[in-house]
Amino acid sequence: MTTETKPGGVGAISVQGLVKSFGPIEVLKDINLEIKPGEVVCVIGPSGSGKSTLLRCTNLLETPTRGTVRVNGHEVTDPECDLDVVRRSIGMVFQQFNLFPHLSVMQNLTVGQTQVLKRSKSEAEKIARSNLERVGLEHKEAAYPSQLSGGQQQRVAIARSLSMTPDLMLFDEPTSALDPELVGEVLSVMKGLANEGMTMMVVTHEMSFARDVADRVIFMDGGYIVEEGHPEDVIGNPQHKRTKSFLDRVLNPTKGDAGDDYPAPAAPAPTAGSIMDPLKPI
C-alpha cells in the first residue's frame, strides 16, 4: 500500500456525515467538510463544541461513530485501511507538545524517520537539521525537551512533524498551553508553513492568526458547523447569532454582558481522548 495520489488528491481532507459519540454524549453531529490541497482552514468555537474531536477524527485518534473521513484519497474510516501508513503523511501538533522527554531534540526528529520511513540515520539527521533550521532551533539539537521553553518545545514538535514530510498538518490548539509572550514565535512558524502551501487544519483561539492566515474559517458549536467562509466574513461580519456572540466574547472578553443571548453550553463534552482509547488497532 502506498500513499500515491488517489481521488481527493494529496493533502486533501473530505469528511462526510461524521458523527462521534462518547457514550451517550454526541460530540459531533453530522459534520460535512472538504479541505482542498494547499488550503489553510482554521476551526474556531467555544470549548466543548467538538473542534478538537473533529481534528482527532481526521487521523483516527478518535474513531468516528458514523460517517466517512477521507485523507489524501484514503478512506481512513474503512476498517481495511492501514492507519499507520496514512498517518505518516499527516503531521499533527498537540496542545501539550508531546515531545518524547527521554530523547534529545535530534532523536525526537529522527525516531519516526528511521523507525517508520526506514530512512538511514544520516539522511534522517540531514532532514531533521533542515527542519530545525526552519523553526529557528538548529542550535538546540542536543538539548532535551525539558531544557526548552514551551515555545521552543512546540517549534520542535512542528519540526518533528515536518521531518516526516507530511502532505498535510493538523494543529490542535498549538498555542493554548503557551505563555502569552511565546505564542508569537509558534504562530510565525505556522504562518511560514501556510505561505509555503502546506495544507493545514488548525483548531485555534487565535483570531488574529485565523484572520491573517486562514483561507477559510469554520465556526463550530454544539457539534455542528454553524458557519464557514472567508475569515473576513466569518470573523469580520458573522451572520449567525451564535458566531456573533462567541466572537464578541473572544474579542471583548471584559465586556461582561456580551453573551446574554448566548445559550448556556450543554454539559461539557469530555476532553478529547479521555474516554475511548484512540489507539486501538483498527
Binding site: 499507520d84 498517518r87 498537540f94 518524547f100 522527554p101 527521554h102 481522548g273
Partner: protein, 287 residues
C-alpha cells in the same frame, strides 16, 4: 525561662521573641531525651549480653579464614546465578503479563490478572516445590525442564514475575497518554511505539522498585535449599548453615559462617542500592 520546660501553658503572656527561644529549647530537650533513651538501650544491651562469647563464636577468625574462600567461590556464586536467572525469567515473563493486563483483548487481560493473583498469593517456597515435583510428572520427556537450574529459574522467576508485572504496569500507566498519541501520529505501530517511546520512559520510572525486586530475589534464592541440593549447588544460606552445624568436615561447628553469609548478602545488595541511586541522579538531570 521556666516556660521552656513547662510547655505551652500560659503562652498567651509570652512575647514573640521569647516564644522563639522557648521552641528552640523545647526541641533541644526532646532531642536530648531521644539520645538518652538510645544510649540507655545500648548500655542495657551491653550489660545484659555476653559479648565476649558472641565475638568468639560469630567472628571466629580461624573459621572465617577456612570458610571464606568457599563462601565466595561457591556460595556467593550460586546465590548470584539463582538470582540472575530468576530475574531474567521474572522480567521477561513480567513484561508479557504487564502488557496482557493492559491489552484491549479481554481474554489477555483476564489471563494477566489471574496470573498475578495466583502467583502473588502463593509462597515462593511452595511454588518451588510444585515446580520440582510437578515438572518430572507433567513434562517427563522434556529434558530441558528437568535441569536443576532451569527449575530454580522458573520456580523463583514465576513468583517474581507477578510482582514485576504489577511494577511494569504501573510504570507504563505513568507515561502520559499524549506520548502514545504522538508516536502513533508519526505512523509508528503500537509495538514500535511501545518499544521506542513508552517502555523506555516506563522503565525509567520503575528502576527503583525493580531493584527492590532483585534484592528480594537475592534473599529468596535461599529457599533453593529445600529442593535437595548437592554441595556444589549450595547458596550462601545453605552453605553457611552447613558450616555452622559442623556438617562439613574440618570446620568446627559455630555461627561464624552464618555471620559471614550475612555479610556476603550485603556485599550484593549494598552496591546494588548504590548503583540505582547513581542511575536515578543521572536521569533526574535529563528530565
Amino acid at each position: 525561662m521556666s516556660t521552656a520546660t513547662t510547655g505551652t501553658t500560659g503562652s498567651t503572656e509570652e512575647v514573640p521573641p521569647q516564644k522563639k527561644m522557648t521552641r528552640k529549647q523545647r526541641a533541644l530537650l526532646i532531642r536530648s531525651l531521644q539520645v538518652a533513651a538510645l544510649v540507655a538501650v545500648v548500655v542495657v544491651l551491653a550489660i545484659v549480653g555476653d559479648w565476649g562469647a558472641f565475638t568468639k563464636s560469630f567472628f571466629n577468625t580461624d573459621t572465617i579464614s577456612k570458610t571464606i574462600g568457599r563462601m565466595f567461590t561457591s556460595g556467593l556464586r550460586s546465590t548470584i546465578i539463582y538470582t540472575l536467572s530468576a530475574f531474567a525469567v521474572g522480567l521477561s515473563l513480567g513484561l508479557i503479563i504487564a502488557l496482557m493486563r493492559l491489552s484491549d483483548v479481554a481474554l489477555y487481560r483476564w489471563i494477566g490478572t489471574a496470573y498475578v493473583e495466583l502467583f502473588r498469593g502463593l509462597p515462593a517456597l511452595l511454588v518451588l516445590f510444585l515446580v520440582t515435583f510437578g515438572f518430572p510428572l507433567v513434562f517427563p520427556e522434556i529434558k530441558f525442564l528437568q535441569n536443576f537450574f532451569v527449575k530454580v529459574a522458573i520456580g523463583l522467576g514465576s513468583v517474581a514475575a507477578a510482582y514485576i508485572a504489577e511494577t511494569i504496569r504501573a510504570g507504563i500507566q505513568a507515561v502520559p497518554k499524549g506520548q502514545m498519541e504522538a508516536a502513533r501520529t508519526l505512523g509508528m505501530s503500537n509495538g514500535t511505539a511501545m518499544r521506542k517511546i513508552i517502555l523506555p520512559q516506563a522503565f525509567r520510572v520503575i528502576i527503583p522498585p525493580l531493584t527492590n525486586e532483585i534484592i528480594l530475589l537475592v534473599k529468596d534464592s535461599s529457599l533453593v535449599y529445600a529442593l535437595g541440593v548437592t554441595a556444589s549447588q549450595y547458596e550462601l544460606t545453605k552453605l553457611g548453615q552447613s558450616f555452622a552445624t559442623g556438617a562439613i568436615p574440618g570446620i568446627p561447628a559455630g555461627p561464624t559462617s552464618l555471620a559471614l553469609a550475612g555479610m556476603f548478602y550485603l556485599v550484593i545488595t549494598l552496591p546494588l542500592s548504590q548503583a540505582v541511586r547513581q542511575l536515578e541522579l543521572k536521569q533526574q538531570k535529563r528530565r
